[in-house]
């Protein structure tokens, strides 16, 4: 792997991970264009290091805002930590449940099956990207209101949205969260899903 390839991958991963445009889709396209093997251990190690870099960027960038909100008092810390815990647990539960359902329904519990095999598919990735684009455009046309206070309900909602997006390469989690996290969009999504709720449906992802 050359320094130029590392530079390109770092910029693509660093930017696309945090913008609502799906880092997986961009990194996979960049790897294909540069002829790299995404399954090699060296590439896995590089991606782990790149993710670490972007995680530190998030911490540094939001640190002051989080100090003013999440760490402003012990009570604020407790309630926000609870919301983050709720969202994380819901994300893990929904994401893992979805993966198991897909493994059972699509791969018929084949022992060697990994979710990446299915969602590394370019067509599915393109559909996911397209859906994320439509969601962002639709949500941007709905005016966000409210003081921005978190609640258990919004934490559950955000966790569920992130969990639904977890297995789908190309569907940006931050894009879906910011789009559906806005209160009117949340109400809109809820209203849209309730009247036709006779069968199990996926409202967004």
């Amino acid at each position: 792997m050359t320094l130029f390839q590392i530079l390109i991958l770092a910029i693509v991963q660093g930017a696309a991970e945090l913008l609502p445009v799906s880092s997986s889709a961009h990194v996979i396209v960049a790897e294909k264009l540069m002829g790299l093997d995404p399954t090699s251990p060296q590439m896995t190690l590089l991606l782990v290091m790149l993710h670490t870099g972007t995680m530190f960027a998030v911490i540094v960038y939001f640190w002051k805002k989080w100090q003013a909100t999440y760490f402003s008092s012990m009570q604020a810390f407790r309630s926000n930590a609870l919301y983050i815990l709720i969202a994380t647990v819901i994300t893990g539960f929904v994401g893992l449940f979805l993966q198991e359902v897909i493994k059972h329904v699509v791969a018929h519990n084949s022992p060697g099956f990994e979710i990446e095999q299915l969602f590394g598919n370019a067509r599915l990735m393109a559909v996911s990207l397209f859906s994320a684009g439509v969601l962002i455009i639709v949500s941007s046309r709905i005016k966000a209101v409210g003081g921005g206070e978190l609640s258990q309900r919004s934490a559950i909602w955000i966790g569920a949205v992130q969990g639904l997006c977890l297995p789908f390469r190309g569907f940006s989690r931050s894009g879906a969260t910011i789009s559906t996290g806005a209160e009117p969009a949340w109400r809109w999504a809820w209203r849209a899903s309730v009247p036709r709720n006779s069968a199990l449906r996926w409202p967004w992802c």
Binding site: G148, S174, I178
Partner: protein, 92 residues
């Protein structure tokens, strides 16, 4: 909830989730064939460089995202995703 607030919360959840996802990948690495071990050591240096570069790119991306959210230009990301879906179809 305001989009900026959803943005902050979304990234706070991501910071909690990222170590778990990375842990899973590290476990996968640990199960890699023994002969890959030597070449992995040579990938550590480039990996550290990549980490620094992705940190810088991430900081710029967050500034960009925040400013477009504040300016109400969020929809442009949606347009980009639609275009990118066509590129992915073409490349794939």
């Amino acid at each position: 909830m305001a989009r900026q607030r959803a943005e902050e919360f979304s990234f706070a959840v991501a910071v909690v989730l990222t170590p778990a996802v990375m842990g899973k990948e590290v476990l996968r690495l640990a199960k890699a064939p023994a002969e890959a071990g030597g070449s992995l050591m040579t990938a550590v240096g480039p990996g550290v460089l990549g980490m620094v570069l992705s940190f810088a790119a991430g900081m710029l991306a967050l500034r960009w995202l925040s400013s477009w959210l504040e300016q109400g230009r969020w929809y442009l990301f949606g347009g980009y995703c639609l275009l990118a879906s066509l590129v992915v179809l073409w490349v794939g």
